[in-house]
């Protein structure tokens, strides 16, 4: 027999009401946790993917689309740009590094990206096995691609377009020569090869143009321009500035002096998060209301229980318990409820995010994991202390001040 047994016995005695407070508290905490995880993981992933890319040069169109397609590999590209013009900007003195990208094909929904090995270095990719590509039609795959079933030395065929199920370039099989270790970036979902590989396939592709209908053209929307060899096109150039000063002039120069478009990932990402942010804020407010409701209900419940419990507590006083002990019993009850609610809520929130992550994995979007713990969750652990103490405060004060003789005579 101790304070804990006394407090817990009473909680058990009012199972139904206490379960309700527990559920309210759990839901509130779960929503806050899930929001925290999702918003952190999404913005963290977006930041990591765009890290070190100051500007993207691509075909004219929506700047957000250009960023989404070439940095995050989520959207379709705005079109292609001529290689010679891209090279002109790559050699600009304000540019420290320019990585060319050529998109257009996929296998099993994973994008095949024609590029240089600078892209691997940019995302700090390390080879888990094999080597980097050296010749056309050699490919290095990201960790998730390898998880999806592609193995070292395995040949595979690119499919026209950026989603599974297009025309297969069956006569030009690639071969996997290297597998990258997980980087936690978009690199994990890409198949990397040389620019030549992409050109080789599509040069052939254009020679065979009469074999295909024009319906395939939108996959390479900018490819229809005349006057240059279509094999010498790329989709975009990922640019890193030599100095911060370039940020002021270079994008404007690109946009005004050429048919190309310059888009700034930082700016577009911020715009995207702002759009998403509206939703997050609304949900966060909702979770706040839920938690407030839970606190209020726990408070009202404890207060109401006091009306009937006053006799019990007065009896405990009669039996020799000091006012402090009686207050401690009430506090233990409130804290037990809110600790349980908080822990269950954290668990539920993580489980929910993990479930969403697994279900949404097929969409090849941003991976959500419920298995990580954020430092931002620490304040949530303080919640039960605050909630429980607040809820127990007035009942405890009443219990402390209660006139035992009067209470027992009235009862």
């Amino acid at each position: 027999m101790n304070l804990l047994t006394l407090g817990m016995a009473d909680l058990r005695h009012h199972k139904l009401a206490n379960s309700l407070h527990l559920i309210l508290l759990t839901l509130g905490v779960a929503i806050i946790t899930a929001l925290l995880l999702i918003s952190t993981e999404i913005s963290g992933r977006l930041e990591r993917d765009a890290d070190g890319i100051d500007m993207v040069i691509g075909a004219k169109g929506s700047p957000l689309q250009l960023i989404l397609s070439t940095v995050y590999h989520l959207d379709i590209p705005t079109g292609n740009i001529p290689l010679d013009e891209a090279n002109r900007w790559a050699q600009n003195p304000m540019v420290a590094q320019a990585i060319p990208l050529s998109l257009g094909d996929n296998t099993k929904g994973f994008r095949i990206v024609g590029t240089t090995t600078a892209l691997v270095q940019h995302y700090q990719g390390k080879l888990g096995s094999g080597r980097l590509w050296q010749k056309p039609m050699e490919a290095v795959i990201g960790s998730e691609v390898s998880k999806a079933g592609l193995k070292l030395d395995q040949p595979f065929v690119g499919v026209h377009g950026l989603t599974a199920g297009g025309h297969a370039h069956a006569d030009h099989p690639y071969r996997v020569v290297g597998v990258l270790e997980p980087t936690g970036t978009v690199l994990d979902r890409l198949i990397l090869t040389s620019l030549d590989s992409v050109w080789e396939i599509h040069a052939q592709h254009h020679h065979d143009a009469d074999d295909h209908d024009e319906a395939e053209a939108p996959a390479m929307p900018g490819a229809a321009g005349g006057g240059y060899n279509p094999s010498q096109e790329i989709t975009a150039l990922l640019v890193r500035y030599r100095s911060p000063l370039a940020a002021i002039s270079l994008p404007r120069m690109v946009n005004s002096q050429s048919k190309l478009q310059a888009a700034v990932p930082a700016f577009e990402t911020a715009r995207l998060l702002q759009l998403l942010g509206l939703g997050f804020d609304t949900l966060r407010a909702l979770a706040g209301v839920l938690i407030l409701t839970a606190v209020l209900s726990a408070f009202v419940a404890l207060y109401n229980a006091m009306e009937t419990r006053q006799y019990d507590l007065a009896v405990l006083r009669c039996l020799g318990a000091s006012p402090g002990r009686v207050v401690a019993i009430l506090w233990i009850q409130a804290i037990a409820l809110s600790v349980a609610g908080t822990l269950l809520g954290l668990l539920l929130g993580h489980a929910a995010v993990e479930t969403i992550g697994r279900l949404a994995n097929t969409a090849r979007g941003i991976d959500l994991s419920g298995l990580i713990v954020l430092p931002a969750e620490l304040p949530i652990l303080l919640l039960p202390l605050v909630v429980g103490t607040t809820a127990a405060l007035i009942p405890a004060w009443r219990a402390y001040r209660t006139d035992i003789a009067a209470t027992l005579s009235a009862g």
């Binding site: 009669c318 039996l319 020799g320």
Partner: protein
């Protein structure tokens, strides 16, 4: 043993209550008689240290109860005074046995389950040890309340109208039980009642109604 000297209670807007001096020896049993509203319960509360008189003193054994305050008073009460309330006030969330061990714990004594079972056995409800109060009959609940009052072997047992809701046979049984348990602890037994049936069981009486 128990001495209530010139105890006075003043109510803000009512006449003050003056109680006759009461002196009882260890093992002595006494009835507190009088019509409803004459202050029987008030005097019991004063004796139990639940109510501090405006003047006068309460002594139990060597202790000046009226000099104790706060947690000290609570602990002394738990340790040395057993109270059987008119409405019993068993704690509904605890089992019968836990109601007794809670009494030990609240008094600051170590939890002694065998002693608690022994107390239950003495009043004949040991078989109900793990039942909740709501599952007891009125008679059983009354016995549990008595067991809880005696579990710490108090020097003073106070009971408020213990027989008012009982039939003749049960009323006699409860009084016998109270007397037997008080004897066993060599405790002072003070029974506040307006029940005439009690008069045949206990000789010594203080009548608040007549001021005697």
């Amino acid at each position: 043993m128990l001495a209530l000297e010139r105890v006075e209670i003043r109510y803000p807007q009512a006449a003050q209550l003056q109680f006759p001096t009461v002196r009882l020896n260890a093992g002595e049993h006494c009835l507190l008689l009088g019509p409803s509203g004459c202050g029987k319960t008030t005097l019991l509360h004063v004796a139990a240290g639940l109510l501090t008189p405006d003047s006068g003193s309460v002594r139990l054994g060597e202790t000046e109860v009226t000099a104790l305050t706060g947690a000290q008073l609570d602990r002394f009460r738990g340790r040395h005074i057993g109270i059987v309330f008119q409405r019993l006030h068993l704690i509904p969330s605890l089992t019968v046995l836990e109601n007794l061990t809670a009494a030990q714990y609240c008094a600051g004594l170590p939890t002694d389950e065998p002693a608690a079972r022994g107390a239950l056995a003495r009043v004949g409800v040991e078989h109900k040890a793990s039942a909740l109060p709501a599952q007891l009959s009125q008679g059983q609940a009354q016995r549990v309340a008595i067991a809880r009052a005696i579990v710490n072997r108090p020097q003073l047992i106070l009971t408020d109208e213990p027989t008012s809701s009982l039939d003749d046979a049960n009323a006699r049984l409860v009084l016998e039980l109270l007397q037997a348990q008080a004897q066993e602890c060599n405790a002072v037994l003070l029974v506040a009642t307006h029940d005439a049936r009690a008069k045949s069981a206990i000789e010594r009486r203080i009548d608040l109604g007549t001021g005697a």
